[in-house]
Symmetry: C2
Subunit: 337 residues, 2 copies
């Protein structure tokens, strides 16, 4: 079984590649390396003990995408590729819509032409808009920023494609907050510029790259006033993709939507404490104003994925902190170091 | 003032071109002629007494679009180009999403690069989903088919572009049911294949091209049991575009949404009667089952456009029937005849 992984050199993609190989799949990566590093390939080969084929081009290029599908037959596609920074999407909406939608058009067009019928798609809890507490998959979807809208729109497009091509199978995976790293410490999240997300930011403070953490608001209606999120270890998330891919091979329903989260919320300060335990010293932080657009609480209802995929998260918040710290301390400058 | 009209050889586009020229604008058309006829150009030149520049290429071609904007400066764009058949969109969703979204990406990208800041966009009452009775512009938008979703999505994309580029001005015009033709009878609606809409179908029955009209359901909760729609004469609709274009030149608000409709509903059988009067003989029809996806009643609340644009419909249902009949009887085979 040969699987094409778009964005396979990226954060979630790379961890999924490791598990795909371990599960016996042949893996082919396509990545434009716009937000990932070529070093990843060598690390993946070391981790998996196998040669990984990597095609370096942009999926928005229809001709190159077609050519790839004409040359190799895939049994399924896991589609991670896409821009993902909320703030940047507000500043560059057209670039976000174009990149995220056109790469999906190109991929699905090639799948249709070359009879590849299974697609696992990276969606996001952002499709629940501001209603992310205990979100179930049947909620109305909407977004509060262009990045989020690209996910809402891609889900709708795939659902409509499924009506026209009922032989196709789609898994729409709505991720909550992926964190952590491979336990080896050789691959992990390597954001370019100032991290937008809490855990990479804490990690960069812990390793001395940033002075202190900014905590955006401590007056939310939560356990300690700081924002609460459902963090999911990237290893658990990767396992969810393998489970979804297997489920698509054995279903009559064209489209499945699954929340991938732990079902538990963790506050900013709780995550800081877990890091302090992992690192062995205090993480300096400062409480600042709320960040516009942030919701107080977000956590999944993962019961549908638990039930239908036989999948649930296994890693704890302490695992997330320890694994992130191992990756960050061994690679203080990320993949470029 | 030079205006680029995409899809300017199409039904609504061509009627708008005539009024733009009459209002003193220079007009440049871009059209791929996938659903329009080259003959239109000569008819437009005869009607306007002026030479019309027509570029024949597909807007989804970024390079050609860029080149056009590099060569000529436009003061504004009216964007009609797009696929528009609901049923076909269900069968070919990917083609609809790709064509309609990518042409808008290409156009807006070129506008940004060459500082063209005014866009009048062809949206549709279909963004009100199944809630089309007395719809006001603040309703939540959603669709019931891929064609409709392309309109919902394009509106969202343009709203997000406006946030990032506050110097731009967008008019989102939500059309109800455009019918009728230019009073000269030289341009009009020329659908390829079996017409999806009532009025072109009646016209083809009247001219002997089709045997009888199929009326989809007579058991709706309406005046006579048949479906009720808000028909707007294409001449009134074209005038709405000119009014919107002028309004964009004189506003601080980046995005305006206006319903373009009469505010009145007309039943299928009322439209049949208007045609019988125009044609001077009976239109044979048969009542058949309801068509899946049809709503009972759709009519605009056009009060926002009335108030803000100083625009309202002037033509009657009898005008619609008479003008459609003049076009159809003078051109029984459409532009190809």
């Amino acid at each position: 079984m040969k699987i094409l992984v778009s964005g396979g050199a990226g954060y979630i993609g790379s961890h999924t590649v490791v598990q795909l190989v371990a599960a016996g799949y042949d893996v082919v990566i396509v990545d434009n390396f716009s937000n990932s590093h070529p070093t990843v390939t060598g690390r993946l080969e070391a981790l998996t003990g196998t040669r990984i084929t990597v095609h370096s081009f942009d999926l928005t290029d229809h001709d190159k995408t077609e050519h790839l599908f004409a040359t190799e037959h895939f049994d399924g596609v896991i589609h991670f590729a896409g821009y993902k920074a909320v703030g940047e999407s507000v500043e560059k909406p057209l670039e976000y819509y174009e990149n995220n939608l056109v790469s999906t058009f190109s991929l699905v067009r090639a799948m249709q032409r070359y009879d590849v019928d299974k697609l696992v798609f990276s969606s996001s809890a952002t499709v629940y808009g501001e209603d992310q507490a205990a979100a179930t998959e049947d909620r109305t979807t909407y977004a509060t920023n262009p990045y989020g809208w690209t996910k809402v729109m891609q889900e709708q497009i795939l659902r409509d494609v499924a009506v026209a091509r009922p032989e196709m199978r789609f898994a729409l995976l709505r991720y909550f907050n992926p964190v952590g790293a491979h336990p080896s410490g050789t691959i992990g999240e390597d954001p370019s510029g100032i991290p937008n997300n809490l855990v990479p930011y804490i990690a960069q403070v812990a390793v001395g790259k940033r002075e202190k953490l900014m905590v955006f608001g401590d007056d939310y209606d939560t356990v300690d006033g700081t924002g609460v999120r459902d963090y999911i270890h990237v290893e658990d998330l990767a396992a969810g993709h393998i489970a979804a891919l297997k489920a698509l091979a054995d279903t009559d329903e064209p489209v499945h939507t699954w929340n991938l989260g732990s079902g538990h919320g963790t506050s900013v300060l709780e995550m800081v404490k877990a890091f302090e335990k992992a690192v062995g010293r205090e993480i300096p932080y400062e409480i600042v104003a709320r960040r516009p657009g942030d919701v107080a609480v977000s956590y999944a209802d993962p019961s549908k994925a638990n039930r239908e995929l036989g999948w649930s998260t296994r890693k704890t918040v302490d695992d997330m902190a320890a694994d992130t710290w191992r990756w960050q301390s061994q690679n203080p400058r990320g993949f470029a170091g």
